[in-house]
């Protein structure tokens, strides 16, 4: 038993010289996570190194890159000025459609941006107020550090403090799927997982051109990208990478507005 204590310094040694096992760390947006995992899988299969994906939200990803804990941050919003001021560089890989989702039995099929804003700010607290059958509105939103929440705020308006908070796009989907009176917002890849109805906003469905709730999706680095991060970014911008992005429902960067 005492000999086990001799293994302790060995463990530390192992940790120190096994940095090759780290690979590229990508951390951040849970909205982007499904896409990031698919890109990482394809990158490794095509000869690239090992890439690990971590969630936590866009701002968590930014923090991870700033602290050197991750090589790439996945963010689903624009960088704030103070973030850019610290040397962060955003590489936009595509555009995601922020999808407003309700339970499949909800009679609502379309909504204007103004009404959506009233719903989510809490001013309209009953479905009656937006033309539906009477009943309380249960808002489901992301937490404060989420890129999706920030994008929603800049595209639609603030979220009421009485909204239910879930820590990931997938969790919002679960919450809305289980409650006929709930409404939430998720990224398009998550909305496509099924079980929900996506609302048309300002007369446009998410699969139609001109859908208003569009936000950039980026990988951020501290300073110019180097090494494995640069190689991965090159793969993402390649035709193979862009095809994968398209398959997930996003618009790859450079494909037009």
């Amino acid at each position: 038993m005492r000999t086990l204590r001799c293994l302790l310094p060995l463990l530390v040694l192992l940790a120190a010289c096994a940095s090759s096992g780290r690979g590229l760390r990508v951390a951040g947006s849970t909205s982007v996570q499904p896409l990031a995992e698919i890109l990482a899988e394809a990158y490794t299969r095509s000869g690239g190194g090992r890439v690990s994906i971590q969630g936590g939200g866009s701002t968590a990803g930014v923090q991870a890159v700033l602290h050197g804990v991750a090589g790439l941050g996945a963010v689903s919003r624009r960088l704030a000025p103070e973030e850019s001021a610290q040397g962060l560089v955003a590489h936009t890989i595509g555009y995601d459609l922020l999808t407003v989702v309700v339970h499949p039995t909800n009679p609502l099929a379309a909504i204007s941006r103004a009404r959506l804003g009233r719903l989510f700010s809490g001013v309209a607290a009953d479905w009656r107020d937006v033309g539906g059958p009477p009943g309380p509105v249960y808002l489901v939103s992301r937490e404060a550090g989420s890129g999706s929440r920030e994008a929603f705020r800049s595209l639609v308006g603030p979220v009421s403090p009485r909204a239910l908070i879930q820590s990931s796009a997938g969790a919002i989907r679960v919450a809305v799927m289980a409650n006929p009176q709930a409404i939430g917002y998720v990224s398009l890849p998550v909305a496509r997982m099924g079980g929900l109805k996506a609302l048309a906003v300002d007369g446009r469905r998410p699969d139609e051109p001109g859908y208003p709730l569009v936000r950039p999706v980026s990988f951020v680095t501290l300073g110019p990208p180097q090494g494995e991060a640069a190689a991965f970014l090159r793969f993402v911008a390649s035709p193979a990478g862009r095809e994968l992005i398209r398959e997930e429902g996003l618009v790859p960067a450079g494909d037009g507005p």
Partner: protein, 265 residues
């Protein structure tokens, strides 16, 4: 050899001091701000009173259910069950205690939350859901410690009461429970400590709304849930506020444990 072992002991003892000092040091810039009534990091408000209310609501609800049930189970094992049944039931309680909290959270999320929404109204994510899940988690602790307390009583207490003409219930109520009081209080306080510190299960079923609950059906956010949700991305004053919350939580739990130790003397 002695010095090696002494070093181990000092390191182990230092661990909790290190953790406490670390949490307090990182939280110091925000220690004043956390005692406000509004939590809105984007607006610079870091008051955790709504989360304190959430934690207390969920914990109080859990204890209201788990204390009678737990002491009842302890009494069942000491007064009612034949020894063979006792040896069968006790491992079951232990198993209930061993089930990881995330499993309780999962079952709560898939079964309890929709059931509350359909049966009682509200969003389903609620203080009630949190209290119910916590009650199941805390019950085995109260039952086990309570049983130890009751078994420690001399058999003459029970025999004497019965000899004086008391019914079994009267013996329990007027003699055994008061005599075992310090041990039972310890059991309750240990359950309280565990409930306050629980994170995952309540995070999954309470809805995480940073506002004090006005009814059991309202969603709430606990102190632990607040830390878990926001830690990944908080910076500056926000981060300090989360550490200050941690310090507050630590102080609460230490207080509760100290009370348990005092009660068991």
């Amino acid at each position: 050899m002695q010095s090696v072992l002494q070093a181990c002991a000092l390191a182990a003892g230092a661990a909790v001091l290190l953790i406490a000092a670390f949490v307090v040091a990182e939280g110091r810039p925000a220690l004043g701000a956390v005692f406000g009534p509004v939590w809105d990091p984007e607006a610079g408000a870091f008051g955790v009173l709504p989360m304190l209310a959430g934690s207390l609501a969920v914990t109080a609800g859990a204890l209201a259910l788990a204390v009678p049930a737990g002491i009842g189970m302890a009494l069942f094992l000491t007064e009612v069950a034949p020894p063979a049944l006792g040896t069968a039931v006790r491992p079951l309680l232990q198993a209930l205690a061993g089930v990881p909290s995330v499993v309780y959270g999962f079952v709560g999320l898939t079964l309890l939350v929709p059931a509350i929404r359909r049966g009682l109204g509200g969003p389903g994510f609620s203080a009630l859901a949190g209290a119910l899940v916590l009650a199941v988690m805390v019950l085995p602790t109260i039952a086990a410690v309570g049983e130890d307390a009751l078994r420690a009583l001399p058999p003459t207490f029970r025999e004497g009461a019965l000899a004086l003409g008391a019914t079994p219930w009267q013996a329990v109520r007027r003699v055994l429970l008061p005599a075992a009081r310090s041990g039972l209080v310890t059991a309750v306080v240990l359950g309280l400590g565990r409930a306050l510190g629980e994170t995952m299960a309540v995070l999954m079923v309470t809805g995480n709304v940073a506002a004090a609950p006005r009814s059991p059906l309202d969603p709430v956010r606990t102190l632990t849930g607040n830390i878990a949700m926001e830690m990944g991305y908080a910076v500056g004053q926000h981060r300090a506020a989360l550490f200050a919350t941690g310090a507050l939580l630590l102080a609460l739990v230490m207080l509760v444990n100290a009370a348990a130790r005092r009660a068991s003397r």
